[in-house]
Amino acid sequence: MRTVERYAVLVVWALIILFFSWRSDSFASTSTVKLILSTQTVILIATLGVMISLAVQEFDLSIGAVVGFGGCLVAVLDGEQGLPPGPAILIAIVACALFGAVNAAISVLLGVPSIIVTLGSGTLLTGITLGITDSKVVTGISAKTVRFMTDPFLFGIPLPFYGGLLLCLALWFVLQHTPLGRRMIFIAENREVARLAGLRVTLIRAGALVATSTLGGLAGIVLAGTNSAANPQAGASYLLPAFAAAFLGSTTIVPGRFNAWGSFVAVYFLTTGITGLQYLGYAGWPEQVFYGGSLVAAVTLSHIAGHRKLPSFA
């Protein structure tokens, strides 16, 4: 049962791929693989971001706002203020990390639940993003940055994807194999006990929130770089998909725990379905039906297979 559960989503994924390959002539091709792998890096990074917080039972609802902010800040600094790409990216990442630190200060130090703090601070940050961009699309990101993000790197897929892959690897290692990873799970299970056991609960929780915002910023930078421009409203559309993928990811590979490869699988599983539907010509509401339906179905099935093995939020 354990194995069924562990690979349930992978099996469903395979079935979906088979189905679409059967129904659509153009689906089963390396170009589809390239397409799916090269365009989901932003959502992958954002998903890994929220996953880190979820792993210590913190909800960061500001992820969408941070994605938007990070991208726009780079675009403003690089495109409008004429900073070289390096410093612009660095400043943007630091700014996002600082924003995460503010979230952490209020929720971890003062003890206000992170879900409320980030709901508010995310809205605030969206306002700031609209302010600094004058509510308009910002262009002018250096060609070098753009090429870096979009030129094929290996097997025709651009570099950011491999960055995302590396990030997965790093997070998998940290969560599965290092003391920090175990401690995060411990904190998620019972904060008080973790504190009594001598863990630096405050530091680890705060660190997770900072990491989430930092990755959110990174996702935004990849987005802006890929498009050579940044849209201040673009971030919001990442909030729910990132959570959906992180939750779905927690039902596979290491069921019951938020885990990096699970998130990876979830992101590409959901995209495969959408892409397949588009190949078949069902753009529009069928995509949403598929997206929502497969999320519920996958989580429920894997839950039934594993007998109550999902991270608890209650």
Partner: protein, 489 residues
């Protein structure tokens, strides 16, 4: 004694919560090789003092605390049930290899050693939640030992807050052996317990807290004298007279099984207090849960108050409606809602009794009833609107017993009802149990406290391997015989 190194020195330690001072100017020294007992009534400040030592609470300004290497076993064990024994033991100090990778095999070997030391035979990768309460207590103990070794100090301090509350006799013996060895190796040990006989047996000196004041540090005192120091008044008889059961059986159980328990049958008449004893895993502690539907029974029939039903169909709701009440042992997870007030916790199952038209809660009546219970059970503080988490462990226990007594149950199924309860409170709880029995209730008592069973029960069922192997009737009931029956193989 002067040449022996002081491992812990406290001076002027006070602690105030929300304007209430719960520790007052405590000054204390513990030396290497010494086992110090720390006793006091519920709420006298023992756990608070310990949490100050561990850095969990910070003391009021002006305190001086000198201590370098210490390890703590907290009152509530501080384990995470969903994680493995290994993880619980080593979470704060995993041994890492290249790239901070946890060295699982080395860790497993190390943990195995500590488990062996406390006499626990489980695999390090077992989930703590799958262990019995006793085994969990031993895991906590093993963690203490592991932490001590980790400090590398030749004179570490080990603090145990009521480690024996969950332990059966042989576990206690094993624990004491370990502690004595540690002390002989130069450790200092602070041992908190409400079992004065154990304290006297184990400890070199005993520090007594009363209402936040350290009133005495004594050695070689009689149990009576320790009690007097603790309470500040002479002691009364601990055990009440038990009523004599009469009439037709109120409850009869036929072939009850479920969990580790198989095929239990017994009958109980109104006024009877029936004990259940055994080693961990023997099934004695399943009875209260199976009979009240808290855990689904596998089979068996229950005849109660003229109705007969399959035990498997019992649910807490139906059981409560029939008049069966359960006081579980795991207070933190299944007993109470710590963030809610004493009143709210107390009236939860009986709320409809405090309503107008069964729809509107009459807060005034509810509050009055809660206050009456607080008075009756001598809960400290005598307030109903405090969140339960601000009460000491023993007082929480009293509130929970009071909660079930409000419903005047016909059968009271109790699992370790006096865990973490001081002698005074224990006396009160026993008095209440005996009153309930006198009023015609059946009391079912699953506990490791053989002394209590021997004094209170009209009959004790002793379990081995999931089955009731012996029933000791009142006439033959002594703590010694009970222990003999429990440990007989």
């Amino acid at each position: 004694m002067d040449e022996v190194e002081a491992v812990l020195e406290l001076a002027g330690v006070s602690k105030t919560f929300d304007g209430v001072r719960v520790l007052h100017d405590v000054t204390l020294t513990v030396r290497a090789g010494e086992i110090l007992g720390l006793i006091g009534e519920n709420g006298s400040g023992k756990s608070t003092l310990i949490k100050i030592l561990s850095g969990y609470h910070s003391p009021d300004p002006g305190a001086r605390i000198e201590l370098d290497a210490a390890s703590f076993i907290h009152q509530d064990l501080a384990l995470v049930p969903s994680m493995t024994v290994l993880e619980n033991l080593r979470i704060a100090r995993f041994d890492t290899g290249f790239g901070w990778r946890i060295r699982w095999s080395a860790e497993r070997a190390r943990v195995g050693r500590f488990l062996k030391q406390v006499g626990l035979d489980v695999h390090p990768d077992t989930r703590v939640g799958d262990l019995s309460v006793t085994e969990q207590a031993l895991v906590a103990m093993a963690r203490g030992l592991a932490d001590i070794e980790e400090t590398g100090s030749s004179h570490p301090l080990l603090v145990l807050d009521e480690p024996t509350a969950y332990l059966p006799n042989d576990g206690v013996r094993r624990l004491f052996g370990v502690l004595r060895d540690l002390a002989a190796d130069g450790a200092a040990i602070v041992f908190v317990s409400h079992r004065l006989d154990e304290v006297r047996e184990l400890c070199d000196r005993v520090a007594v807290l009363r209402g936040g004041d350290l009133v005495a540090v004594v050695s070689d005192q009689s149990e009576k004298e320790l009690l007097r120091l603790m309470l500040g008044r002479p002691v009364e008889e601990l055990y009440p007279d038990t009523p004599s059961p009469e009439g037709e059986p109120l409850l009869s159980v036929d072939g009850l099984s479920g969990g580790t328990l198989a095929d239990l049958s017994f009958t109980a008449r109104p006024g009877e207090i029936i004990g259940f004893a055994g080693l961990p895993g023997s099934g004695y502690d399943e009875v209260p849960y199976l009979l009240t539907g808290a855990r689904p029974a596998g089979g068996g029939r229950v005849r109660f108050d003229g109705q007969e039903l399959a035990a498997a169909t019992l649910r807490p709701r139906s059981a409560i409606r029939l008049g069966l009440a359960l006081l579980p042992a795991d207070r933190a997870h299944t007993g109470c809602a710590p963030a809610l007030t004493v009143r709210e916790n107390m009236t939860l199952p009986t709320l409809p009794a405090f309503t107008r038209f069964r729809a509107v809660v009459n807060q005034r009546r509810e509050r009055r009833a809660a206050l009456e219970q607080v008075e009756r059970f001598a809960v400290v503080p005598r307030r109903t609107e405090t969140a339960l988490r601000y009460l000491s462990g023993g007082n929480q226990q009293k509130v929970l017993l009071a909660k079930w007594m409000l419903g005047q149950p016909k059968v009271l199924a109790l699992h370790e009802p006096t865990q973490g309860v001081d002698v005074g409170a224990k006396r009160e709880i026993f008095a209440h149990l005996s009153d309930a029995a006198a009023a015609g209730a059946v009391v079912l008592l699953s506990t490791v406290e053989h002394e209590d069973l021997a004094h209170l029960c009209s009959r004790v069922h002793v379990f081995h391997g999931g089955r009731c192997r012996r029933v000791i009737e009142q006439a033959d009931l002594t703590p010694g015989r009970l222990a003999e029956a429990v440990y007989a193989s």
